[in-house]
């Protein structure tokens, strides 16, 4: 079911795992700022962060032997889709839940 990581891959795993979370947050942060400020220039940077997250996840998956097993490969795919869609979904929830109160900055809806 699991194939333990090799000693040589320890650092890669720790580093890429941390990067997955950090870049996930950076993607969410830039995504939210871009929509909040209406600044379209931030959106490519947001997706660049996501691309970094994707690369980190693939390196992590390789170092932790995840891609050798279908189950763990599905988890990797699920994670990537989850991180990609979560900020979109939460933004829609934000707009919906704040609809009744005055929001000073009109969110940009279409990209």
């Amino acid at each position: 079911m699991i194939e333990p990581a090799s000693l040589g891959n320890f650092f890669t795993i720790f580093f890429t795992s941390a990067m997955v979370i950090m870049l996930g947050a950076l993607y969410a942060l830039l995504f939210a700022f871009s929509r909040l400020k209406g600044d379209k220039r931030l959106m490519p940077l947001a997706y660049l962060s996501y691309a970094g997250l994707l690369i980190s996840t693939l390196f992590l998956a390789d170092a932790a032997n995840l891609l050798k097993h279908p189950f763990w490969t599905v988890i990797v795919a699920f994670m990537l889709v989850g991180y990609l869609l979560a900020p979109h979904a939460i933004w829609h929830l934000c707009v919906g839940t704040h609809a009744a109160e005055h929001v000073e900055v009109e969110p940009i809806k279409n990209y």
Binding site: I2, F10, L29, L36, L66, G82, P87, A89
Partner: protein, 481 residues
């Protein structure tokens, strides 16, 4: 009639008077946690230090138990703090609540004294009931376990009865159910089985589900209340987000329990469940980043209590890095095989507990002291430019980050030498313990621990003096609370 700038009980409602008592004990236990942590840290460096007088096993046990109990006191205090305001009704059964507070505090004192004075002895059935249950993190003897359950039941009664007679809000509904879970899950750690795997299986229900379910939900309720009070966010919004966050946390947090079942002899499917849900656990944190940016942008973070606001922000960052980054770095079983139970776990535990729980309770302390002094000014332009709370915030956070990184270095050495190279043998254990990188990590942990202690002293000093003699009223923030 509010007395501005003076500590006056007349400024508080009944529940808040009881909350102040809980907060006071929480701070004392916080101090005890730091003291015993520093002593056990020193024993890593000088193993003979206090040997036979105050053994490492006892120091460490008191350090961790003090953490669990001061956080519990902080949470119970926070619940009593918001209860009357939230329900618009006086606390039902307040006398019973007060009585239970004194009984619980007396019990905690007796338990700690027994820990300190009966450090070694035979392991008999009677020692489980009277001395020490022997289960890591929840070592309290069985009589104290029963006392904790009864105490939480009384708090549950206070909360449920007050809300049923007063206003029933969204926060009320979540809080009542959570108090019930807080009581119910603790029962899972109160019986023994002869099979260690089965025993550990249930033991984790208390450790993981208290921390990553019931405490997280309580934090979400406190945060919802705190945001209404400090930032003036409307009730409709905080309650909607309370439901969303609770759903997200439950979605990943409950079965994230599986990452504790990797190596205790449970069936192999826990690898899949633990790995899958642990991978999902950081997603709610990413979601919260988006929401925080949206909310801050919409209301420019105008607030009436700068120290509380700063600690709420510290909570968001601490939770993200401690639970999210430090947790995910070693949560997959492929790497957790080597890191589980090393200083790596301790590194994650320190930052996660501080970031997710200690910070928000400290924010509640500041909200409490503001009201206790009659709703005094706590925004900018405080005497001395508020240097005490700022230095306390800086030293406590830097001290914690320093300790976390130091333990990370030691944990890295342990996972490589003790686990991967030497295969978890005794020889491997000692080889890692004497390795210069491990020892240096332990030294730096102690140095940053002292920094943390200085921050704690400043925090207590600030809590005792902030707003004293202040004649300005706090800023009113508009909300629909």
């Amino acid at each position: 009639m509010a007395t501005l700038g003076m500590l006056d009980s007349a400024n508080l409602n009944g529940g808040q008077k009881l909350a102040v008592k809980y907060f006071t004990v929480a701070i004392v236990l916080f101090g005890a946690q730091i003291l015993f942590g520093l002593l056990s840290g020193l024993q890593y460096l000088y193993p003979d230090f206090l040997y036979g007088v105050l053994d490492f096993s006892v120091n460490r046990m008191v350090h961790i138990n003090a953490l669990v109990v001061w956080l519990l006191y902080g949470f119970l205090g926070s619940v009593y703090w918001l209860l009357e305001e939230e329900s618009q009704h006086e606390v039902v059964g307040l006398k019973l609540g007060n009585l239970i507070y004194w009984v619980l505090t007396a019990a905690v004192t007796v338990v700690v004294l027994v820990y300190l004075f009966v450090q070694i002895g035979p392991g008999k059935e009677s020692s489980i009931w009277l001395i020490n249950e022997g289960r890591e993190y929840i070592e309290a003897p069985r009589w104290a376990d029963i006392g904790i359950v009864v105490s939480v039941l009384v708090v549950f009664f206070n909360v449920a009865a007050t809300f049923s007679k007063g206003r029933y809000t969204g926060i009320a509904g979540v809080l009542v159910l959570d108090m019930l879970a807080l009581f119910g899950i603790y029962l899972a750690g109160m019986f023994y089985t002869t099979n260690i795997s089965i025993d550990q299986y249930w033991w984790w229900w208390v450790i993981h589900l208290w921390v990553e379910a019931t405490w997280e939900v309580m934090v979400a309720c406190i945060m919802a209340y705190g945001l209404m009070k400090v930032l003036g966010v409307s009730r409709k919004i905080v309650e909607t987000w309370l439901y969303i966050e609770v759903a997200l946390m439950f979605g990943s947090g409950i079965l994230g329990l599986g990452h504790h079942y990797f190596w205790i002899g449970t069936p192999e499917y826990w690898f899949s469940i633990g790995g899958f849900f642990s991978a999902l656990e950081p997603i709610p944190l990413v979601a919260m980043v988006v929401h925080a940016v949206f909310d801050a942008g919409a209301r420019h973070a105008k607030n009436n209590n700068h120290p509380a606001m700063a600690w709420l922000i510290a909570h968001a960052f601490g939770n993200f890095f401690g639970a999210g980054v430090w947790g995910f770095m070693h949560t997959l079983p492929q790497i957790n095989l080597y890191t589980h139970g090393t200083q790596w776990s301790a590194s994650h535990g320190h930052l996660a507990f501080f970031g997710a729980y200690a910070t928000i309770i400290i924010a509640m302390f500041y909200l409490g002291i503001q009201r206790w002094r009659g709703g005094t000014w706590m925004s900018g332009d405080l005497p001395g430019n508020g240097w005490k709370w700022k230095w306390a915030l800086g030293l406590l956070n830097l001290g914690m980050v320093g300790m976390t990184v130091a333990m990370l270095v030691s944990g890295y050495v342990q996972s490589q030498i003790e686990r991967a190279i030497e295969g978890s043998t005794w020889m491997g254990y000692f080889a890692a313990q004497i390795h210069p990188w491990f020892v240096q990590g332990m030294w730096w942990r102690e140095v940053f621990g002292v920094m943390f202690l200085v921050g704690f002293v400043l925090l207590v000093w600030d809590l005792l003096t902030i707003g004293k003699g202040e004649s300005r009223k706090m800023i009113e923030v508009s909300n629909a609370a």
